[in-house]
């Protein structure tokens, strides 16, 4: 109970600070719109070649996971600023749970992602996507889980490096293989065999495939099982890492 309360206090503070910054609100809303409106038409002719019935049912899940991952990867940068201003130390000296300090921040990122996901899915439907409601719900939940995991990892990384200059290249180094090997924009199945084998080791590929399956209504696939397992595992791992960093002396 106190944990929820403490997380909420941190969450509310974060949201309040972000809402004070109109650029943040605008970018948050525009991101999914731009992706779908500017990027969708570009991919549409290509997607038709994969033998997918509906291009948007293919596109939206990929964009959803991409939004979840990449938006969240950058969540930690704000924390470095907070650390520099002594905010993290001031929070750490209170009796509040260390996990709450992290979860409050994650909740903000997940809430932001949720709003973006609603816009993306809504717009997708408007543009002709067809997907079962239950599948969309599960797909969005998976996305939120991945987003939460990435945000937790990003926050942990931020407090470990304590420097934007160190953190930015690390994030880039992680993002490149994730983007290329997870089949977000193009399905891995059109690649050569060796590339597919390599991508088998990319957890995010399974998650992207899982979200695609929920959108097409295939609930019994092994991808969905693996994707869900990976999403839960990554979230648990990242949460544990983040808490350890907040707890660590000298953070």
């Amino acid at each position: 109970m106190t944990f929820v309360r403490e997380s909420f206090i941190v969450f509310r503070r974060q949201v309040r600070m972000n809402l004070r910054n109109p650029a943040w609100v605008l970018i948050g809303v525009m991101q999914p719109v731009l992706y779908l409106v500017l990027f969708g038409p570009l991919l549409k002719p290509l997607v038709d070649d994969f033998g997918v019935e509906n291009p948007y049912t293919f596109l939206v899940p990929g964009l959803l996971v991409q939004l979840g991952m990449f938006g969240a990867f950058f969540a930690g940068f704000g924390l470095i600023g907070e650390w520099r201003e002594g905010v993290v130390e001031a929070e750490r000296v209170t009796p509040a749970s260390r996990t709450a300090l992290l979860v409050g921040r994650l909740s903000r990122d997940v809430a932001q992602l949720f709003v973006q996901a609603l816009i993306l899915v809504g717009l997708g439907f408007a543009m002709g996507m067809r997907a079962p409601a239950g599948g969309v719900v599960i797909g969005v939940l998976l996305t939120l889980l991945v987003g939460g995991a990435c945000a937790a990892a990003s926050n942990a990384l931020a407090l470990t490096t304590k420097s934007e200059d160190v953190m930015a290249p690390v994030i880039n180094m992680v993002m490149m293989p994730v983007l290329l090997l997870s089949g977000i924009l193009l399905p891995m199945t059109i690649g050569p065999d060796w590339l597919q084998r390599v991508s088998d080791f990319m957890p995010f590929r399974w998650i992207v495939d899982a979200v695609r399956d929920t959108f097409t209504g295939d609930f019994g696939t092994s991808q969905l099982m693996w994707g869900t397992t990976w999403a839960v595992a990554l979230f648990g791992l990242a949460l544990w890492w983040g808490t350890a960093v907040f707890r660590k002396e000298n953070a």
Partner: protein, 333 residues
């Protein structure tokens, strides 16, 4: 209220390729009783902040133990945190958040309700002369106003054990006096225990029952500031003699009450313990023997004097450090 035994904190930092170990705190023992106000004095880099961060559970001691408010800092950190208030040297308010919101959130993390935190915060804003700044962001405040906001943050939950790390940096004399009064009230009205660091002997003097001096991670003295000053160096008495031919007579007269008498041009100087009592007699003496003075000055010993006698180094040398350590990456603030 606070008991520490053998507290040690070492930091490892990279100096080029090789790792260097910095012993920031090197075996500190300290005891602070309930209701006591203790001033923790020392030059830059002496280890004050590091000691405070260990006592406030922000930093795990490399060695040694500490009990704060009856709880062990290493194993019962949550209870310790619940029992204390802490104002860090660098402050902890985001530049872009409204002051009032930050104070209320901070209070709520200590378990206060929103209404309680608001009431307590607003009362502190009144008391520390921050009226009308509730809605402002620290970015729109002066340095001294920001510092007082930091102090409000540390006091919003009404702690009875308070750690203040250089609370008066950046405050003008009036704000400083106001804060001193406030700290005095905390103690007299609420029986609070206060542990504060400072660079100024006069501040430790005005506020604290006891002064502890730390140098290179070790406590070198712990006593009332009166005793430290009296025992350690005494006051400097400086006589400017009008007639140069009477200099030796004046020196002889001063010698009767002073140590380390020296003559320097028209001036005769010496160290006198509790000069306030001894000087009236000296003046009568000089008058009787017809030695005319152009001026007389009594200079209270400064921290530098106390420090010099305790460590054999002046404060300025101490700040440079024995090995002239370079600026360390990742140091606090």
């Amino acid at each position: 209220m606070i008991q520490a035994r053998g507290l040690v904190q070492t930091f490892t930092t990279k100096q080029g390729r090789k790792k260097v170990e910095v012993r920031a705190v090197d075996g500190v023992d300290l005891d602070v009783a309930e209701g006591e106000v203790v001033g923790f004095l020392g030059p830059n880099g002496a280890g004050k902040t590091t000691t405070l961060r260990m006592l406030t559970t922000l930093l795990r001691p490399t060695a040694g133990t500490a009990r704060v408010a009856g709880y062990d800092v290493a194993t019962q950190s949550k209870q310790v945190r619940q029992s204390i208030g802490y104002v860090s040297q660098a402050g902890g308010v985001s530049s872009y958040a409204r002051a009032g919101d930050e104070v209320v959130d901070h209070g709520m993390l200590y378990g206060l309700s929103q209404a309680q935190a608001t009431a307590s915060g607003q009362q502190l804003f009144e008391q520390l002369d921050l009226r009308g700044l509730w809605q402002r962001t620290p970015k729109q405040m002066s340095g001294g106003q920001k510092r007082r906001l930091d102090i409000v943050m540390g006091l919003v939950h009404d702690p009875t054990l308070i750690f203040l790390d250089e609370p008066t940096t950046g405050l003008d004399p009036q704000a400083r006096a106001n804060l001193w009064e406030h700290i005095g009230r905390l103690r007299s009205e609420r029986g609070a225990t206060v542990f504060l660091t400072t660079h100024y002997l006069e501040e430790a003097d005005a506020l604290s029952d006891r002064v502890m001096i730390i140098d290179q991670g070790r406590i070198v003295a712990s006593d009332t500031s009166e005793n430290l000053k009296a025992a350690v160096s005494g006051d400097q008495v400086d006589l400017e003699v009008a007639d140069p031919t009477r200099l030796t007579d004046a020196a002889a007269a001063l010698e009767t009450i002073a140590d380390l008498v020296e003559v320097d041009g028209q001036h005769v100087r010496g160290r006198v313990s509790r000069a306030g009592r001894a000087v009236p007699d000296l003046l009568r003496d000089l008058d009787r023997t017809g030695i005319e003075l152009a001026s007389i000055e009594v200079i209270r010993p400064t921290l530098d004097d106390v420090f010099l006698t305790l460590t054999g180094r002046s404060l300025r040398d101490a700040e440079a450090g024995p090995t002239d350590q370079p600026v360390l990456e990742g140091a606090d603030q």
